[in-house]
Symmetry: C2
Subunit: 402 residues, 2 copies
Amino acid sequence: MKKPNPDFDRTMIDGAGSLLSLIASGTATSRAELLDASGLSRATVTQRLNGLLASGLVCETQDTLPSGGRPTRLLAINAASGFVIVANIGETHIHLAAMDLQPAVLAETTLPFSITSGPDDTLTQISDAIAALAVEARKTNRLFVGIGLSLPAPVDFKRGCVVGPSVLPGWDEFDIIGWLKNRFAVPVYVENDVNLMTICEHKRRFPAIDDMVFVKIGTGIGSGMIAGGRLFRGAQGAAGDIGHIQFLSDDAPLCRCGKFGCIEARAAGWAIARDLSARGFRAETARDVIDLVDQRKPEALMLLRAAGRTIGEVVSDVVSILNPSLIVIGGTLARGGDLLLSGIRELVYQRCLPLATRNLSIVLSTAQEDSAMFGAAYLILDDLFGAAKIDQLLERYCNRAD
Amino acid sequence: MKKPNPDFDRTMIDGAGSLLSLIASGTATSRAELLDASGLSRATVTQRLNGLLASGLVCETQDTLPSGGRPTRLLAINAASGFVIVANIGETHIHLAAMDLQPAVLAETTLPFSITSGPDDTLTQISDAIAALAVEARKTNRLFVGIGLSLPAPVDFKRGCVVGPSVLPGWDEFDIIGWLKNRFAVPVYVENDVNLMTICEHKRRFPAIDDMVFVKIGTGIGSGMIAGGRLFRGAQGAAGDIGHIQFLSDDAPLCRCGKFGCIEARAAGWAIARDLSARGFRAETARDVIDLVDQRKPEALMLLRAAGRTIGEVVSDVVSILNPSLIVIGGTLARGGDLLLSGIRELVYQRCLPLATRNLSIVLSTAQEDSAMFGAAYLILDDLFGAAKIDQLLERYCNRAD
DNA sequence: AATCTTATGTATTTTATTATACATAATTGG
DNA sequence: CCAATTATGTATAATAAAATACATAAGATT
């Protein structure tokens, strides 16, 4: 494999990190904007930008901006210059993908997975798959920039471990970042799947919105929050864990957490499936519920609508507390569409103060199955191309080019 | 009045803003730390720091740090070099204070106030009082750095106005910042009183805690949130407005907002006073309630305990959603101490997942009446001495020194 | 008091960046 | 095709900051 540019010398991109960050974040997409945003002089910007262009990390796009005179050439991160590998641990499978810096999928794999597997076995399997994907991705002379892992459990993002008892027995406090860094010399990120879906939804559809909440209603119920434009994780990474908010009533059902009356036990996929089973239907998962809804079974329609109202109670609490400008409803049950949404809207507009709902939208997610994986890619790229870490990344690009 | 230092020349502090910010934020308190934190060279730091010292803005403290050799001289913002004026609009009075940069009170005034006064009249009164305080404070040759206004209503911080219907009729959308800037050529900040109390509690007692919630339980109920070390305001500045979160029951009382079952109608000062009145006591305000509690009237004790549990229901929702590491309970009813606290703790530990309560503390506020005013001062100083605005502030110091 | 240690200031050289001015490039509109 | 217009690169002088090395300060230790 040839190097992308043999005339490349590492001194050419000394100090170019800030420019790279500006381009990556979309703050500056042209030379003129770069001059403005960086505060550097024309000569310096030209010199450093040439370094970045020679390194292959940055490229000029096809498009130009007409300006009345010579058109402005637009700059962008060269998506082909690197790749990330993300893995999403689901309830029955692990999906892995190598993605370029767009991020767009380059290659994928799926592994079988049992929730009872310990972290060591699972991470060994994942590592092998990562290694295979990396070999593939490297064939096009890309730099391996990072690994992202999505888990269906509360995650302490900074420490990179699952915290608290969860659906993943044996993972509590296990040092995932340490384990993976031992095998791969790249930055490793671990995050909860709902948080990653939140990031994906925010980056893709609502990048301009600073305060939003994503609610995932699938087999379980969870949420992620964007506060001031950034994911809000709370003290232990448990922020947004709304599934086990309770409200009591005469018929409060038993939740899988051991308490009575949690909204999960009232409105999550498994709870609706339970209620449908009691009425003689065959239903176990959120998907079964949606299948029955699609068949227009009246009982399923009724239960989903009721679930919407139940969830609406909690969403209205969230709105009162956080005052977001957008609520996005996702997860398998969100395929129920307006059936679910109307109940949520009903309760929110009934319960919240006018001030909080004045500019509030409540919409359905358009995210696909793979949104957690894209979220992981966004998370990695935003962090690595951010001002704080960009110089380390540049360093790694240089070492490769040697 | 003499200038603090006649040998002062504005070119001496060119570029010294970043150093000033580092000192103000406490990031660097010595020359060595300044060198480290700024990344500048020894010569540059010496030169700019000398400028700051000559300007009177920065001073060396009495204390030095023993180091084995020559002791390290510590640096600090010279609290005497400037002043802010803050005003707190309460239900019956407006308190004003001039404060130095510590912040510590230099002079105070109180004005009578009626909630029905319109913004124009009120601001005229406030302005006159500010002008008088400013004359006083300027006698010691200080620079007037900013004005802060605390309001008992939801505030859109960026726009500087009250939003939504509130206890302040006629103030909705009134441009307070514009009005005051018209009269005083200094930065003006407007914020909700509970948010300011939150800032005060955070800065004074828990500066190291990144995620906390302050709950004010007085005549009404409100809260403020620190998320990631910063005040979280939400989309319209209504974040933390938890007083009107409802939960239904057979005996849901009517709230002053017009809905049934809000926690305010169940557990705020006015609601307890209402219940005590129904039992033949004379009680109207939160203070009346606390007086009866102090007299150990069983009915008052019982109602306060019950209020604790009611508030605990909402606080447990807040904990589930935000995962803070600290809850601070303040406001007049917080004088009820453990009587109130135990009910809150009981519900939170009962309802929240162990992960969320593992490292959670729930404590009483120690804040005094004036905490909103100190909060306002902290808000002003943190913003003006922050990296983003420090150069403007320096500019103003220079113009004065001319 | 002499010595050690760490803090702090300063002079000098070297390097990096800016400012300025100008040259060149790539369009649009006539 | 030409002029107008805006984008972009580059040479040069001027400036700011860093690096280096050394000098001095102020306490602790002996």
